[in-house]
Amino acid sequence: MMSRMHHLAPIVLLACGLAGCSTSPEKGAAAPIDDRAISSAEMDALDGARTEGVADPSRLQGGALDDPASPLAVRVFYFELDSSEVRADYRPSVEAHAAYLASNGGARVVIEGHADERGSREYNIALGERRALALRRQLVLLGASADQIRTVSYGEERPVETGSDEYSWERNRRAELIYEAPR
């Protein structure tokens, strides 16, 4: 079981790349996260970072991480206005991710924190980080290792919705959990 789970992280990453990573819990309303798929090659060119290829696509059989019915399918956590508290209804997903990380010591995630567009940009970077850290803290409390989780806050710089309205602001106040390929 352990060794099988260990292979899931790269498979999930591939699935994300192919499917445009619709990580939103609300189906249909999911916006593709455009920076992810398009920029990796450019990033490589910029900073020399390399990401390795992942498992043979023929082995993509599905499993806990890419089962849409699994609590692990929730990768975007929305926040209330002026709040960095992880909502209670995300508890099953947070527990599932923590358990997955705890039982897959090689798995690594990045939590991106985001804010809505209102107010000052660097202050919003700080607000986004609070959200990322709140989610990280819960994952660690529930058994994940702190070493497995890196956080980065984009503040208002990476909105998924570009409107200036309540709906867009709600969608942009979020933390995204992204499984990384092992290096």
Partner: protein, 433 residues
């Protein structure tokens, strides 16, 4: 409404390694409000004996108008188009309502041009300034801005800041996704040059006091880092790559240190970084958010945003650290991004007024008057011209983010935008040396 179209001139010497050349998107400047209460001045189109690629008098006119201190006469009211003293009939100019008159000629030389100009006091009939300035195709616009500076200084007693540059962030949609570029332009938006192009966000450009370097935060590699880039060569280095936030850089007035925000100790705190030694010194110690540091003009204090009192407010701390003192009390429950005026007398900030985010200016001495200078709802990132007379900030227009300027008396407003991109995060550079 007056439209001035600006054209690109590639300054190839300035292109850094990451540069993709001059941006396709050029800034267009538009006057949205101009109250004719400044000094009535007539700037006559300069005579030319050779083809001149720029309208020198037009650049001077636009500069002076943007300050709010001048009300240039429409050329339709000019009684004539004199280019030399012989052609000036002061009585006619008095009748036209001008108090000052600028005339000049652009002469061809072996290396370019010689711009001769005179400033005349129409009331007394006296010449108050006469000057000849050499120029070439590359610095013709800059020379026109320098002439505007001379005229501004002579007639107002204040130093002109038209021959200066701004840095800002341009975001464009491309076939491959968003592209973030750090741009440099003249203060009127002309002569854009790209300093950095990246698929990841770039923000918070900050000038070194001598105008030779720009610090900024960039998310290349999906991590925040603070870089310092030399403008002349494009060479840059990572100055801060700590765990968590690396952001909001600000050069100390002597250029030796950066104030910046790091969250490596668990929450955003203000640090100073001595650039020569790469040594950090932690300035704030509070579990709340502390960010957006800006040095006071004398370098003795650091202003910053903190929500330690429950909502974001402006605080001030000694640059060596110590107890922070709250600055904003009666300006509502959201005040952020403090930016001191160059003379230290005022503090511009983002303030929330009935749900709208606007630019407010707080007088630091005496009565602590607070003036809300902007009028839209998502205004941010204020920056003063180095003479303190114009405030630039980011706002929203019909096409998205654009830049706005307002004279500090609130009389004259302009917008700078690009047709196919979002412009934001303006940082007005120092006087050119």
């Amino acid at each position: 409404m007056v439209l001035f179209r600006r054209y690109l001139i590639a300054l190839f010497l300035l292109l850094p390694p990451f540069c993709i050349g001059p941006a396709q998107a050029e800034l267009t400047i538009r006057i949205t409000q101009g109250e004719a209460r400044g000094l009535p001045i007539a700037i006559v189109p300069f005579g030319t004996q050779v083809p001149v690629p720029e309208d020198v008098a037009g650049i001077i006119t636009a500069d002076l108008a943007s300050s709010g201190r001048f009300a240039p006469l429409e050329s339709t009211r000019f009684p004539g188009m004199p280019q030399t003293l012989d052609g000036v009939d002061f009585a006619q100019w008095r009748a036209a309502g001008a108090e000052s008159l600028v005339i000049g000629q652009v002469l061809g030389t072996a290396t370019g041009y010689n711009i001769e100009f005179r400033v005349l006091d129409v009331v007394s009939g006296q010449q108050i300034l006469a000057f000849a300035a050499p120029a070439n195709d590359r610095n013709l616009r800059l020379t026109a801005h320098r002439i505007a500076d001379l005229i501004f200084e002579k007639l107002t007693g204040l130093k002109g800041a038209f021959a200066t540059r701004i840095a800002y962030v341009l975001v464009q949609e491309t076939a491959k996704g968003k592209r973030f570029t750090l741009q440099l332009a003249d203060s009127d938006g002309a002569n854009t040059v790209t300093l950095l192009s990246s698929p990841e966000p770039v923000l918070s450009p900050a000038w070194s006091p001598d105008g030779t370097r720009i610090a900024y935060a960039s998310f290349e590699g999906r991590r925040s880092r603070v870089y310092v880039q030399e403008l002349a060569t494009g060479a840059r280095r990572v100055v801060s790559a700590e765990e968590g936030i690396n952001g909001a850089p600000a050069f100390s007035p002597d250029g030796s240190r950066l104030a910046l925000t790091l969250s490596r100790d668990g929450d955003p705190e203000i640090y100073t970084l001595t650039l020569a030694t790469n040594e950090y010194q932690r300035i704030t110690r509070n579990p709340a958010i502390d960010t957006e540091a800006q040095w006071s003009a004398d370098g003795r204090h650091i202003f910053f945003t903190s929500d330690r009192g429950g909502s974001p407010q402006i605080y001030r701390v000694a640059a060596m650290g110590g107890e922070a003192e709250r600055i904003t009390f009666e300006q509502g429950n959201y005040n952020a991004r403090p930016v001191p005026s160059p003379d230290g007398a005022r503090l511009a900030m983002v303030t929330r007024v009935e749900g709208a985010y606007r630019i407010g200016v707080l007088e630091l001495g005496g009565r602590r008057d607070f003036t809300v200078l902007s009028t839209a709802g998502l205004d941010e990132s204020p920056t003063f011209a180095p003479n303190g007379q114009i405030l630039m900030y980011a706002t929203r227009g019909r096409g998205g983010s654009e830049l706005a300027t307002v004279s500090v008396d609130g009389r004259v407003r302009q917008r700078l935008n690009v047709p196919d991109g979002q412009v934001r995060e303006p940082a007005w550079g120092p006087f050119l040396q």
